[in-house]
């Protein structure tokens, strides 16, 4: 019983130190987050006719092509190595999991007036939607998520750019 009591006290001490160090590290880390923020409540617009509306709208390949041709901002939410292998022409890399690096690099290039298209690797990936929610919270409120992602784009034989920008 004494062993268990000591173990519980030690465990509490380890957890307390972990909480302190974890929060301190998080506050200084480039990829740190606000752990107490409320979950992002972002309107998801399923109606494809509501062009220009505030919120996140899921778009198909045809509309993604029109967006790229019209010169709107396009963001690739994948990793750098995937981006370098091939991406939608004109897309800017913004690795969702490396917020600290890409926030400073990409956000100044975006306009919060126009629509921004975000995509990731394929229809099953969620990073484009997660990044779109982050961008919404940062003030970029007109967001288009190309759900088919790079896989659908390249499978359709549409032009692909390679290498770093």
């Amino acid at each position: 019983m004494k062993i268990l009591r000591n173990a519980i006290l030690q465990a509490v001490a380890i957890v307390a130190v972990s909480v302190a160090v974890g929060f301190a590290f998080n506050s200084f880390s480039r990829n740190g987050i606000n752990p107490f923020r409320a979950p992002a409540k972002v309107p998801v617009l399923a109606d494809s006719t509501r062009a220009g509306a505030e919120g996140i709208r899921i778009i198909d390949l045809e509309e993604a092509r029109r967006v790229v041709e019209s010169g709107l901002s396009v963001i690739d939410a994948r990793r750098k190595d995937e981006f370098d292998e091939g991406h939608i022409p004109g897309a800017m890399l913004f690795d969702y999991y490396d917020m600290g690096t890409y926030r400073d690099r990409v956000l100044p290039l975006l306009s919060n007036e126009g629509e921004i298209m975000v995509y990731c690797s394929e229809a099953t990936c969620e990073d484009s939607e997660l990044l779109a929610k982050e961008l919404y919270l940062l003030g970029f409120t007109k967001l288009l998520v190309f759900k088919g992602g790079f896989a659908e784009w390249s499978d359709a034989g549409l032009p692909v750019e390679k290498g770093d920008l």
């Binding site: 062993i3 006290l9 974890g22 979950p39």
Partner: protein, 175 residues
């Protein structure tokens, strides 16, 4: 003060028979080093990537996005790291063992839940393959369940061991 590696007094012979083979000091040391390597490596894959880790936890469908999930994503890797260091040094080793019992029991439960989901979709048990978000990439569910069960048993042995040898002890220098 100086830190030295010390060995606690040997156990009485009677305790070293029967089921107490599991408390062999060299075996306990092997358990500590193995668990420490696993958890320090796992922590290193997650520290500094709270958004990615939060998504991995969320994929289990147990905790929704919000402060509890984000706090777990910020703190859990550090608990794993400190437990790893505690096991290597032998300082607060029982506390670390108790935490690892809890963590491994939780991992087993959520991996079993996810595996059950695949089974209900008709995937054969031996073919269930996914990334558990543990920091080691995708693997077969049966393998991960076995691994975590082994880690749980090792942690139980570390908690219940009458003594631990090969621990760092802090001694005061005599003036």
């Amino acid at each position: 003060m100086k830190m030295t590696w010390s060995q606690s007094p040997r156990q009485p012979e009677g305790n070293r028979n029967g089921i107490h083979w599991i408390f062999n000091p060299y075996l306990l040391l092997a358990f500590r080093l193995l668990l420490a390597a696993v958890f320090i490596y796992a922590a290193a894959q997650k520290i500094g990537k709270p958004l990615a880790f939060a998504d991995e936890i969320h994929n289990y469908g147990v905790v929704d996005y919000g402060p509890p999930l984000y706090v777990m994503a910020v703190v859990l890797p550090w608990i794993e790291l400190l437990c790893g260091f505690a096991l290597v040094t032998g300082v607060v080793v029982r506390g670390a063992a108790l935490i690892l019992i809890g963590l491994n029991a939780m991992f087993l439960a959520v991996i079993a839940k996810k595996t059950a989901g695949y089974l209900s979709d008709g995937t054969p048990f031996t073919q269930i393959f996914f990334d558990c978000g543990c920091g080691f990439g995708a693997t077969y569910a049966w393998k991960k369940l076995l691994e975590d069960a082994a880690y749980l048993l090792m942690s139980l042995a570390l908690l219940a061991a009458p003594r631990h040898r090969f621990v760092v002890s802090i001694k005061r220098r005599s003036l």
